[in-house]
Symmetry: C2
Subunit: 168 residues, 2 copies
């Protein structure tokens, strides 16, 4: 079976968000053991002008949902960024994964040359589907998942590369 | 044109390593302006038991080279990890990109079901080519490029998402 736009996107998002969910479970347990207020970890940043863990998780979810929806030519679902606790973030991840599972493979496949329009702060940017996936959606998604992991590692959480990559 | 194993790997590695090279140029200029010894930035870590910037760059390069070579069924080239300065890291990136440009697209394409064997600390792991690319090579590559970026941001370098993603 040859590589498809669907295989290169939706299952990748689902897998990595599942790994992030398991890492957040460890973070919640760590906060409890160490008597760290969850808001301290969720508000932690690697630099004062970088977004905190909470936003990294929300943007990881959004970039997966919007990336998949754009490729599938579906309406963009909107999840409000209201989470303030680990259980709420787990719910956000679960809702995101549930949405991704509804994206029909057949609608993503064949999207290589579909025009995708992004509204950026600097104006509209148009991509072809394949360039959007490989040059924007995936690197942006991995950026936020990795940064979430890095914030937690920086704050003492005992996780490693296996947690990030998940079981092979 | 439908998505191929080559398109989803080699040009992605080349593009992101080019972005990393531009970020390292900014880091070298920043070190000079702020009179920070380059070794301080290259040795910076996000946690005492995480690898420093130098290793993050080396592993980003290695994961691209080895990922591409494994998919193309080529001998794995080995670049010694001897870099200690920004110009030496730029050379490493340039050598890595030069190697990637020699990987024949036709040898990577069709590798979806090729068996890829990795020697891990825990023993040998076998993947099919597509699972290797999507579940190991790409996430591992993005992990190290993002962590390199995050270490520099944490140390005050003024870069943003556009530097990470590059020009679209």
């Amino acid at each position: 079976m040859s590589l498809s736009m669907y295989q290169a996107s939706v299952p990748v998002f689902i897998r990595m968000l599942g790994n992030l969910s398991a890492i957040l479970d460890k973070a919640a347990a760590y906060a409890e053991t160490k008597k760290i207020a969850p808001a301290v970890l969720l508000g932690a940043r690697l630099a004062p002008d970088m977004l905190p863990l909470s936003s990294q998780i929300q943007i990881a979810c959004d970039s997966a949902v919007r990336g998949a929806a754009r490729l599938a030519n579906m309406d963009l679902p909107s999840f409000p960024d209201t989470e303030t606790s680990f259980p709420e973030f787990q719910e956000r991840l679960a809702k995101t994964i549930a949405f991704l599972k509804t994206v029909p493979a057949a609608q993503v496949d064949g999207s290589e040359e579909r025009t995708v329009t992004l509204k950026m702060r600097t104006g509209e940017v148009q991509f072809q589907g394949q360039a959007f996936l490989l040059g924007f959606a995936l690197p942006n998604f991995y950026f936020h998942v990795t940064t979430a992991y890095a914030i937690l590692r920086h704050n003492g959480l005992d996780v490693g590369k296996t947690d990030f990559l998940g079981k092979s």
